[in-house]
């Protein structure tokens, strides 16, 4: 067991940092004392440092279970960026030869990112068991809770899998968890006594607001008004790729800033370019679906606007948290038109299988062997894990109710006339700063934005690369020695 000075020395040695961020030290210390740990830390608090440092100190294999493929790849990239090459994402997206390559070199990796389904595979499971992982990390651990909005049935397997792995030391990570969900996570993982590490969820430097609008046109006008008053860089979130594209195009044409859309339809090449251009301020504004920002390590984002509100307060607070990581004054605003929640409600409905679809499946599962959409994957998952049809119908009904409930909570937040921060605090059972003039508002005027005294904008790179000729592009690319 390391003492505090030694721990700081290791931090310096492996990461170059002098200080831990809030919550990191407590979590690492708990793990080093061999205690299973549930860490609830806000987005951007540097959750990955906890297992990264533990892996380096213990010099043993760390398995990180993560629900989102894109997120895994981002995490691997950022480990690579910090010089750790022994990190890899073992996912269903891998091509045959890549998969074989990773499997053949499994013992050479220190950080192995996987989705729960991949861990279920017997061959790989046994190999991992042989390697005796030093730490099992459950990222986005709230996905295990049926109460939560991001519930993933595969996560239910993790409790058993952990046991079969020989009950390795376990770190459960999440950014958002109500008290009910916390209990549920620990219960489902079979770790009721896990140590809890928590920091405040409040982000006092972010002003939060809602602007009600009357029509789509009104919304667009408000958006443009806001953008002209706010300081770049910023992110606008959408529920629809199509609308994200349209708004990006319109803003690009009308404003003197560079705007880009970002969503799953972009090629990986283009996604990488958009991220890098945003990081280096060549792009100042991103019109994104929620896929954007997970792996982005940019601390001077001055505003997050929601053109469409998200479907849960948990998602909302995570996305808000991408602004102002440098601690300077930042802004988060939802533009809300009455009945906007219809998009979310219909999404919630259409993404779950109907009773009829469930019935069809149970009658003749083989007929669906080749169907591969999310709905049927869900049904398949339960059916293969011996859940009866009537049980599943009930379970999904409950799930549907809990989703609808979350969306209603979001609407209540939008319509809440008192201090919005206080409502967020109540939702997460967390202490928040008291209301003041830089706290929140239900109407966003230019005066309010002005009174916030936003910091100077990041220096923008407005050179137009298209004016270059290709020889210049090449010579810029390589610092030629002659």
């Amino acid at each position: 067991m390391l003492n505090r000075a030694q721990l700081h020395a290791e931090l310096k040695r492996y990461t170059g940092f002098d200080e831990f961020r809030d919550g990191q030290e407590a979590a690492v210390t708990s793990l080093l004392a061999n205690q299973d740990t549930l860490a609830i830390l806000p987005t951007g608090a540097g959750k990955s440092l906890i297992y990264e440092l533990y892996g380096k100190i213990s010099n043993r294999l760390v398995i990180i279970i993560s629900p989102l493929l894109s997120l895994m790849q981002d995490q691997v990239s950022s480990l690579n960026y910090r010089g750790e090459r022994r990190a890899v994402a073992y996912t269903s997206l891998l091509m045959g030869q890549d998969k074989a390559y990773i499997e053949a070199h499994l013992n050479q990796y220190r950080f192995l990112f996987m989705s729960p389904e991949m861990l279920v595979n017997d061959a790989i499971f046994n190999r991992i068991k042989q390697l005796q992982p030093g730490l099992l990390v459950i990222d986005e651990a709230h996905c295990i809770s049926t109460w939560g909005p991001d519930f993933r049935p595969e996560y239910l397997l993790l409790g058993k899998l952990r046991e079969r792995l020989g009950s390795p030391l376990t770190l459960m990570l999440t950014a958002t968890a109500t008290p009910k969900i916390k209990l549920d996570i620990k219960a489902k993982m079979g770790l009721p006594d896990a140590t809890e590490v928590m920091t405040t969820i409040d982000r006092p430097n972010i002003f939060i607001g809602v602007q009600h609008v009357d029509s789509a046109k009104d919304k667009m006008n408000h958006l443009k008004q806001l953008i002209s008053n706010l300081t770049m860089p910023g992110i606008i979130y959408f529920s629809s790729k199509k609308v994200a594209n349209q708004v990006a195009e319109e803003l690009n044409n009308e404003l003197a800033i560079n705007v880009a859309a970002y969503h799953a339809d972009l090629s990986s090449d283009d996604r990488f370019k958009v991220q890098q251009q945003f990081m280096s301020n060549q792009i100042q504004l991103i019109c994104a679906t929620s896929a954007f920002g997970m792996g982005i390590d940019k601390n001077d984002i001055r505003f997050v606007i929601h053109y469409h509100m998200p479907s849960t307060l948990e998602d909302y607070w995570q996305e808000v948290g991408r602004a102002g990581r440098d601690g300077k004054q930042s802004v988060a605003i939802i533009l809300y038109q009455k009945n906007d929640e219809r998009i979310q409600l219909s999404l919630a409905e259409s993404s779950l299988p109907t009773n009829e679809e469930i019935h069809l499946y149970y009658q003749n599962p083989s007929r669906f062997a080749k169907v591969d959409d999310d709905k049927f994957r869900l049904v398949k998952f339960y059916a293969t894990h011996r859940v009866r049809e009537d049980q599943l119908v009930q379970l999904l009904q409950k799930r549907q109710q809990s989703r609808t409930q979350s969306i209603r909570e979001m609407v209540s937040y939008v319509n809440y006339a008192e201090c919005k921060r206080e409502l967020i605090g109540r939702h997460f059972k967390a202490t928040m700063k008291d209301h003041d003039e830089k706290c929140c508002s239900n109407e966003i005027t230019s005066e309010i934005i002005e009174s916030l005294n936003l910091p100077e904008p990041a220096i923008l790179d407005t050179t137009n690369p298209v004016k270059l000729d290709w020889k210049r592009v090449i010579s810029n690319l390589f610092l030629l020695k002659n």
Binding site: Q73, D269, P465, L477, F478
Partner: protein
């Protein structure tokens, strides 16, 4: 998939099957698709738009018919005079891929990923930077880039590398194209431009831009091959992909060793019809001298077929018409003879 692409895949003389053109673009490798793809001379487009949707294809097709650019001839389709004129006009402003054939013999995805990755690696190296986000690439290619880079540090210099890239672009003899591709490259402080950003600048669309970039980069492969000293040579090692499936290649090797269809089908537990499909696939995709036609189809059968079919266009031969005179004829020999004659004809 747009008007120009579809028009360019149809002919004003030869009526063509709507689904064959669609399946060629999608990369469906049934013998019938491959055979007609060969007859239409569009095999190099095989798999050019793997994600093409039936709805999209049909709606473009219907539009062409409606505008009378294309007309139906016995359930097949042909360009009208009007359609030919439109095609020629569109060809002036549309990029026509130059390196489709290269794409049939190499894994272009793998090649592009490798090239983009090592450009980034050398760029960062030239700025003495070791901390950066590598571009997204497969594990195998990341590993390739590491090994290549070790080799490069001993055998090359940044100047030589940059010169090679420059030469590849110079060789295009088209500054606009060169710029379009140069913007795909990323490196230290150079973020490139996305296809969307380029589409706005060039007043084009995203798919068109991506297609041009891919085609130009494919053209690099033969250039690299010509130069054994190239620092890029390792990039093309192991990326050649045979047009013929592995299983069909094996069947063909066994036929060359005088194994009978029966032997092959028993040994490999394949249906005899599958073995024959392998032969037809190989015959369509490979040059004439790589297929043992003499062992496969006797001179006497060839003579019989020639006399019955004399005076008819190859496209119009009908199997039914033969079975009246040769009731035991297997469709396999009919099709194989058709392929043989097509290839002799081209020669």
């Amino acid at each position: 998939m747009d008007e120009f692409r579809l028009l360019s895949l149809l002919s004003d003389k030869q009526p063509r099957r709507k689904r064959v053109v669609e399946n060629i673009l999608k990369g469906r490798r049934t013998v019938s698709t491959l055979f007609w793809g060969m007859r239409y001379g569009i095999l190099d487009w095989l798999g050019y738009e793997k994600k093409l949707q039936r709805d999209t294809y049909d709606s473009v097709f219907d539009q062409l018919i409606q505008e009378q650019l294309v007309e139906a001839v016995d359930q097949q389709f042909r360009l009208t005079e009007f359609g030919t004129a439109r095609l020629n006009q569109l060809a002036k402003t549309h990029y026509q891929p130059q390196n489709l054939a290269v794409g049939q013999f190499y894994d272009s995805q793998l090649f592009q990923e490798r090239l983009l990755l090592i450009i980034q690696v050398v760029s960062e190296y030239s700025f003495d930077n070791r901390q950066y986000y590598p571009q997204l690439a497969s594990q195998a290619n990341l590993q390739f880039a590491r090994e290549w880079f070790r080799w490069f540090k001993i055998n090359g210099t940044v100047d030589l590398f940059a010169k090679e890239i420059q030469d590849l672009l110079q060789n295009l003899n088209d500054d606009r194209l060169a710029l379009l591709v140069a913007f795909r490259f990323m490196g230290h402080g150079t973020m490139g431009l996305t296809t969307q950003q380029l589409a706005v600048e060039y007043n084009s669309d995203v798919d068109q831009i991506a297609a041009i970039q891919t085609d130009v980069m494919l053209g690099f492969i033969p250039r690299i091959k010509e130069n054994p000293e190239s620092l890029l040579s390792p990039l093309i090692a192991g990326i050649d992909s045979s047009r013929v499936s592995a299983s069909a290649t094996q069947t063909l090797a066994e036929v060359w060793q005088h194994h009978s269809f029966k032997q092959i089908s028993q040994q490999r537990r394949l249906k005899e019809s599958t073995v024959k499909e392998h032969i037809l696939e190989a015959a369509i995709l490979l040059p004439i001298d790589e297929i043992p036609y003499d062992a496969l189809i006797s001179q006497s059968l060839r003579k019989q077929l020639a006399s019955i079919l004399s005076g008819q266009e190859i496209d119009e031969w009908q199997f039914d018409q033969l079975t009246a005179k040769l009731p035991d004829l297997d469709f396999f020999y009919f099709r194989l003879y058709q392929i043989l004659r097509s290839k002799e004809h081209v020669k």
